[in-house]
Symmetry: C2
Subunit: 364 residues, 2 copies
Amino acid sequence: MASATDESLPNIQFGIMGCAEIAKKITRAIALAPNASIIAVASRDAEKARRFIASNALPEGTRAHGSYEALIEDEGVEAVYIPLPTKLHVLWAVAAAAKGKHVLLEKPTAVNASDLDKILAACEHNRVQFMDGTMWMHHPRTARMKEVLSDPGLIGPIQLIHSSCSFSATPEFLENNIRIRPDLDSLGALGDLGWYCIRAILWAVDYQLPSSATALPAVHSNNAGVLLACAASLHWDDGKVATFHCSFLSNTSMDISVHGASGSLQLTDFGIPYREDSASFELTTGAHFRELHIGWSKTPEEVLVATYLPQEALMVQEFARLVRLIRSSGGHPDPKWPGISRKTQLVMDAVKRSIDLGFKSVTM
Amino acid sequence: MASATDESLPNIQFGIMGCAEIAKKITRAIALAPNASIIAVASRDAEKARRFIASNALPEGTRAHGSYEALIEDEGVEAVYIPLPTKLHVLWAVAAAAKGKHVLLEKPTAVNASDLDKILAACEHNRVQFMDGTMWMHHPRTARMKEVLSDPGLIGPIQLIHSSCSFSATPEFLENNIRIRPDLDSLGALGDLGWYCIRAILWAVDYQLPSSATALPAVHSNNAGVLLACAASLHWDDGKVATFHCSFLSNTSMDISVHGASGSLQLTDFGIPYREDSASFELTTGAHFRELHIGWSKTPEEVLVATYLPQEALMVQEFARLVRLIRSSGGHPDPKWPGISRKTQLVMDAVKRSIDLGFKSVTM
């Protein structure tokens, strides 16, 4: 029996649902992934889908659909990539799953966990794979960092995590972008950037949910009430604490630092590495102050990790690998990725609720 | 008239009040500073003072006093360095000032702002210079970073500051050290390490006090109720937020990151530089994601700053310079340093109160 990684197996056939800017990146990623291909693109306007096909150099026969409905009715499409505005996720992800399409869904996965649960239930019921589009999870640097965090001799029990994700949005973005429109993405910076912070924090603690989340009184919203910046602290019963800040009003940042009892790990480009071919992080372990405290016994070590494919192509490859496994063996979807998405969404919900409650602590 | 920096002027004559470990570092710093000398050392035991003089290679004639009282009665002593346990600061700093001695006081300056105010009032009344022992303030890297923060084209309005200061204390430290004994230093990790975080945060915002301080529910205390670790968030009315974490239970860390609207500044050894002859920080300014978000337009720049003297010697030099100015011109003490100490102490008090109030927000 052929294994799911067998190169002779046919590629997973993707349909792209919507021609958002991010869809260009995933289109390139699918082209780079060795086990995936695009066979169809949908937009609410077939002409727009055709233009997307042409400008992204997709193969001749790629089908242009003038509706999302047509895409999920396309029998050749095995998996859909959905970069639609967040509010539309539940509608189209559920519809795609109902048609037996595997779902690669852009983050944030939904406007709340209740909506996400509908998506996950549909995927489970229809035995299709679900994965969210958090690309950095698939970079080999992430796996290397997890090895470091798991080695009791290097970091030790985690005490403090801090993350910041931000960019300085243009006036045009702040006026018109879907990520700040309440009808399309009510979570704003929390959904777009806080998602990364929350995911990174959960990733660092092996997805152990915090016992409480408390938003900090440092919120910026636009006139429609959509978050442009916010911050929160997360707490675990063992005294571990995480803080994060996400903002459309600050400089470009993608920081995470993890401090344990005996070492720390830090990087400033975790979500999107500075360059595509390799990425690094700083590791300090067992450092102490020299006698008289006139210096340190050691300086941070830079750990460099090369990658043969960009992280988004590795994400597509992993998703397609799981889909192939289901296709070839008739097996169940891998529950790991839906589980991680759900926990991220639950923490995001708790932070949002804390903001809505005037920064009260929300028990999880 | 001779200027205070004139090398022909006699050195400021220091007395060291107490033979704590940190006193060795300052003894070396005074030896390195070109305008200061040690002429006396006091301990509650004259023999201990004599041993300190011998083991730190102080000059033959250095006087050993068997009481702090004797030191402040020593007419040759112009300035005292006080590394005593925090609870004793108010007693001995006030007594030294009353005898006309200038006061270089180890941090935390007092167990609360009310005690510090007594010290500052005594210094002001007796026209003696006050400065706390926060050494990193005097490193040329700090001045260079302040230039960067003040340049509107580099960082822009500050949005987020995060700081972590910690070390992993030995069991012996956690059992016996004065910094965890309620009768000697009731502030524990907040006083010893949180002091650095708070100072760094205030320094970054040009000492604008936050409007509120809120401790996070991430406190570790010993059996006597002394803080071994804590965390807090500070808030300004313009939405700026700072978070910090200080701990005796975590790896060695001295991080600060400052994120502004257009750039960021980060370093992981702000309190004690990794090495003595130079120190660096990372500056990112005007970075954005490249097209398709497959990388960044620029990576952080490392800014390296050399120093001809260790930061603690520069601190002593600056303190002695101010004392010389008073001595030569009969002028007033420089109010800058007492003012900075007081603001640091006020924020520390607010964080402590927030902890005592069960993590309620404390308005400043």
